[in-house]
């Protein structure tokens, strides 16, 4: 029986309570509450949650690394890391929404859905049972379907939601199918037991195990934006309200990785077959497709969407060589955390631009450096961090990922090639990040400054500080990721 004071339960209680209460309050107040009031309530809940996570960490109530418990949830550092990332993203989204949601309908439901989705993301990371994982996964997904289509009068928002929904539904079904197979051959839905089961699997049942892993890759890969399960992603990110795109790109995507880390990697390691190369191939495909497609984009949100596909590829490097290098998963975790902040900040900046200027077309953000200096600066820094330019945080996590790939070179021949593909893609990505910077700073010299939404500025300043500080002194986060890394190498390496 899981303790009632453990982190996931408390988060579930706080956020769930507030999330359900918000629409009720709204109806009770006859829908007269302002955006800010709902937003502040949401923020308080989120800050309380993040505070609790940190409190638990500080008091060492949290188990190190990823553990497998007899319960459906485990209060471990792995989950805490994701929880922090998700909650930061949720805070970003909420703050960004202050200005974005102004004069839009149904703010209470909007914030409530954000909260519910956040619970889902957090619980995905904490889940140690496939059923819990699946329910959390749906709790994360279903509100986002609605949020993506939240602009009811906007056809592209609806179109994005429909595409996203269809993919999501299929992916959920595939996940259930995968779970059913895994369950069928191991007789349990507890992840720990499933992995134990995998390790002692009959040789003639192994193909079923692989089938299950394949379905997990497809199902979770859809959220992560892995090629070839990425097709919905640019459309949905472009069509969604940019704040929600931030939530998707920075939050739900990471939950996909949390699930993948717990389930795919662990399971695959347990199966001890040559599955790593498959992930490696997907990683290279993913980053290449994402970066190449991003180059010619005209829409800022869409470009960022493709870039986030590319980043999924980088993160996958760490996963694919997890058994061969100690820093692979660490790098992935670090990059997940970083990417949450970087991509979140970038999308919130887009939200700011949309709020202030109602444009997302790259040609139309000329001279943004003069029009909205702080937003533009935040965007530039997050773009550079995404490109992995030191001394920003993105550099360190990419460094660790590439380092792990090279480190793995002593075991598997293709390890360094992952790193080569990674660095070349990283360099290629600079072309389109640089393009945005060029548009913002080197053109449109005659623009005038306009007022920037204050909430956006707050997010920008926070993320700039975060990115630069971590970039200059990454040690604490590296330590933390080390603390949070599942100890698979010791346990499962054949």
């Amino acid at each position: 029986m899981i303790e009632l004071t453990s982190t996931p339960i408390i988060i579930l209680a706080i956020l769930g309570g507030v999330g359900v209460a918000l629409p009720v309050i709204s109806i009770a107040m006859k829908e007269r509450g302002t955006v800010a009031s709902y937003g502040i309530v949401t923020l308080i809940a989120l800050f309380a949650s993040i505070g609790y996570v940190l409190y638990q960490l500080a008091l060492d109530h949290v188990a190190p690394a990823a553990i497998f418990s007899q319960d459906v949830l485990a209060d471990d550092a792995f989950g805490s890391l994701f929880a922090i990332a998700m909650l930061i993203v949720a805070i970003f989204t909420t703050v960004g929404s202050f200005s974005y949601m102004k004069n839009k309908a149904n703010p209470s439901v909007y914030f409530s859905l954000i909260l519910l989705s956040t619970i889902g993301m957090v619980l995905v990371a904490y889940a140690t049972d496939l059923v819990m994982l699946f329910v959390a996964w749906e709790l994360m997904s279903i509100p986002t379907y609605i949020l993506v289509g939240f602009l009811k009068k906007d056809p592209i928002s609806n179109e994005a939601a429909i595409k996203y929904f269809l993919f999501g539904a299929l992916a959920s079904a595939i996940i259930i199918y995968g779970i059913s197979l895994a369950y069928g051959i191991t007789g349990s839905t507890n992840i720990g037991e499933v992995i134990q089961g995998f390790m002692v699997l009959d040789a003639n049942l192994i193909p079923i195990g692989l089938l299950a892993v394949g379905m997990f890759i497809a199902g979770f890969g859809f959220k992560m934006g892995l090629v070839p399960f990425h097709m919905w992603l640019p459309d949905a990110y472009e069509g969604a309200p940019p704040t929600i795109a931030a939530l998707l790109a920075a939050g739900t995507k990471k939950a996909g990785f949390a699930a993948a880390l717990r389930v795919i990697v662990m399971g695959a390691v347990a199966l001890s077959l040559d599955w790593t190369l498959a992930l490696g191939i997907i990683a290279v495909m993913t980053m290449t497709v994402g970066n190449i497609a991003a180059i010619m984009q005209k829409n800022l949100a869409r470009m960022l969407a493709y870039s986030s596909i590319g980043h999924a590829g980088y993160i996958l490097i760490g996963l694919s060589i997890a058994p061969f290098s100690t820093i692979g998963i660490q790098g992935s975790l670090f990059h997940i955390l970083n990417h949450a902040v970087m991509k979140g900040a970038a999308f919130i900046a887009v939200a700011g631009i949309v709020t202030a200027l109602a444009v997302t077309h790259i040609e139309k953000i000329k001279g943004l450096g003069r029009r909205m200096p702080i937003t533009a600066l935040g965007l530039v820094i997050s773009l550079l961090a995404l490109a992995g330019v030191p001394p920003l945080n993105g550099f360190w996590s990419k460094l660790m990922l590439f380092a792990s790939a090279i480190d793995a070179g002593t075991v598997v021949w293709w390890g360094p090639w992952l790193a080569v593909a990674g660095v070349l893609n990283s360099a290629l990505s600079l072309a389109y990040y640089g393009w945005i910077i060029r548009k913002m700073y080197f053109e449109g010299e005659t623009e005038k400054r306009i007022k920037e939404p204050r909430a956006i500025i707050a997010v920008m300043i926070f993320s700039i500080i975060f990115m630069v500080t971590i970039g200059v002194y990454p040690e604490p986060i590296i330590q933390f990721t080390e603390f949070a890394t599942p100890a698979i190498n010791v346990a499962f390496t054949p």
Partner: protein, 171 residues
Amino acid sequence: MVDALFLGIAVLTIVSAIAALEMRSLIYGGLALMGTLGGIAGFFILLDSPFVALFQIAVYVGSIAVLILFVIMLVKSELIFQKKEDPKRRYAGIALMLILMICLGAVIFNSGLSSITTEEPPVDYKEIGEDFLIYYWPALIAMALVLAGSITGALILARRQDAVEDEQRTD
């Protein structure tokens, strides 16, 4: 050995699944879908899980299918009838379907699954309840939130008029 009942339900399920997708009229398609869902319920009964079967019938046939039918009625009548599909896409889809069936089927068929049979008695319903309350209780809460979220969200989306007009993006 496959018995006749199983065979009958299997044929019913698969044929009505295909019919649900291929019937010209959406309404008949919806009815055929109910056939599929009912067939699945039948399988559940075959598998000695009447509780799940009843739940299936209650939720799916009783509510979801009806909901779908309502929506079908709601939209314009010409939309109910199928438009012509792109033949290329259709053939590609059929090919994909067959390949998937053959590949996955072959994998499963060649694996150790094919030899599994059981003579043990089915699990007691009470165990399901215990599972829910003792082991899966956080998941249950989470599911409650899912349902709450989806219902409020769906309501908000489906609601016709809003207090404040949405602004549309200009570009």
